[in-house]
Amino acid sequence: MTGAHRLGGVTRLDGGLIAGGACVLALLLATPLFGSALIVDKLTLLMIYVLLAVSWNLLAGFAGLVSVGHQTFIGLSGYFVLRLVETGLPPFAALLLGAVAVLLVAWPLSWIVLRLRAAEFAVAMWVIAETVRSVVMFDPLVQGETGRSLVTLNAMDAELRRTAIFLAAVIAAALGLVVSHRLLRGRLGGESQAIRDDEEAAASIGVDTMRVKRVIFLISAVGCAVAGSLWLASAITYQPRTAFGINWSVFMLFMVLVGGLGSFAGPIIGALVLFALQELFGDFGAWYLAGVRVVAILFALYAPRGVVGLLADRFGTEPLSMRKTLIKGAR
């Protein structure tokens, strides 16, 4: 039978999408050459959204763990960056190191919270975000509620800084997508989905459930942390209540839910939708925010597989599906 079967290759649609994605990436990297500052700034935000959505989706969509406390890592990385800059580190080094330092907190945390399930996990994460915020606010550097600005970044030329942060955001988002793609196509992806579908059965076929969950948890934490430090770099102002705000979770939830929980393309679509909604209706203030939530509820109840699910139903195949197909015939 050797050589009689193999994994299905990339479909033509997906090939097109990947090629298109590569073009978009190239285009993005070149944007600072021709795009206005406005465009660059907006795209930076979009990239941060993509990174957040991808990170959160890893945990919720593939490991079945809904966290409403991932703002912990967003806020914490900002704080670490501030602290590191205060010690005299150059800001860009601090941005990178701050995000990585989040692992120091996420790793021990994972030992505890990953033993919790479902709602207990969700709520415990939220309380942890609040707890970490309280602790961070003890540091006189952040001045309690008020927070602090990353003023050292202002020393840099505005144009250069904007470009650098934008490129960093594009690379981070692209890296996030590539890493999650590799992971999900690999052994870990299958195992995490198995855990999501049935943790007990997954253990019974030899999946080290704790390890898999921990790896995914840490990756999603680092993803959020990188997004957090990019956010700080572009906003410059750090405020604990905002950085640790539940709103981050609501946004991540919205993007992933609307795009398609547990799909690869979903978070990207979700980020685009949120971005578009914000551009179009952001001026309606609270009613816009309420509307965004209502849309999320409607999706949760009536299209739980999101836009990607709708597309899949319409066209028969899911775009950029993580599904592995078995094909007859040697390569």
Binding site: G3, A4, E191, Q193
Partner: protein, 269 residues
């Protein structure tokens, strides 16, 4: 025995007579699986009430008993799905009582679920592939090839790329077997995998399991379809109310009055 004419079951056998070539355990080798005085409580209920059980290397053991006897619970305890309240379990002489389900699988114990528990979000192929990679330690093209082979053997190949959530119960039961086998076990615990199969399908199933047994796999099989069970197993354990009622040669166990009243529900007059 008023209600179950064993002879008639045997004559209805579509494959062959019961196996006579039972593999005899090597005298001093430790049993593949040894459970000693297992107790499992659910609140006030003792689902396992001091159950001792053993399966020698390469042996095929059948487990029968009325509903709620504790058969599935025994499987859970052996596979490490949940910890027992007391008692100990050994695998080839190694103490495994405190080990997790995953570690036991890694050592070579695989189980199927009576109520199938597929990974519904994944295809049949992916279900098997994840088991091959996680428990079976296979990688790359080899894993794919082995998955295809397992699917072939369990008759699931045509459904390979169908989501597991979308196939019927019988196919899910086959998937249970394929997925357990994918972890390359030395002991496989089969829980009512024959229920609901047609005669023709039963024939295939029996052939599959006998093949496994002949390849040296230790098999423990819970089944209510006796005639199928008896074509594979060389020893029978009957449980009732969390205890082992009788064990030994299948014919003798079936004839045991306690078994007849507890399991077959008929008054042993």
């Amino acid at each position: 025995m008023t209600m179950i004419p064993i002879d008639s079951i045997q004559t209805a056998d579509p494959v062959s007579a019961p196996r006579q070539d039972a593999r005899v355990a090597i005298p001093h080798a430790p049993p593949a699986l040894l459970a000693d005085h297992l107790v499992k409580r659910y609140g006030s209920l003792k689902a396992l009430d001091s159950v001792s059980f053993q399966a020698s290397e390469g042996e095929a053991v059948g487990v029968v008993g009325p509903n709620g006897a504790g058969k599935t619970t025994l499987f859970g305890a052996l596979a490490g799905t949940f910890p027992v309240n007391s008692g100990s379990i050994q695998f080839r002489g190694t103490e495994i009582t405190g080990m997790s389900a995953q570690e036991r699988n890694m050592m070579g114990i695989a189980r199927t679920y009576q109520v199938p528990r597929p990974f519904r979000g994944m295809t049949i192929f992916e279900n098997v592939l994840v088991a091959l990679r996680a428990g079976g330690g296979a990688e790359g093209a080899v894993a794919v090839e082995q998955a295809a082979e397992l699917l072939e053997r369990t008759g699931l190949l045509p459904l390979a790329n169908t989501p597991a959530g979308a196939v019927g119960l019988l196919d899910l039961k086959r998937l249970e077997v394929a997925r357990a086998l994918a972890t390359r076990p030395q002991v496989i615990l089969l829980d009512e995998i024959g229920g609901g199969l047609t005669e023709a399908e039963l024939v295939k199933l029996i052939a599959l399991i006998r093949g496994l047994s002949e390849a040296g796999l230790t098999i423990v099989w819970i089944e209510h379809i006796l005639h199928a069970l008896l074509k594979v197993v060389t020893r029978l354990v009957c449980m009732a109310e969390g205890r082992v009622l009788a064990e030994g040669d299948p014919q003798e166990v079936m004839a045991d009055p306690a078994v007849r009243s507890a399991y077959f529900g008929a008054d042993a007059e």
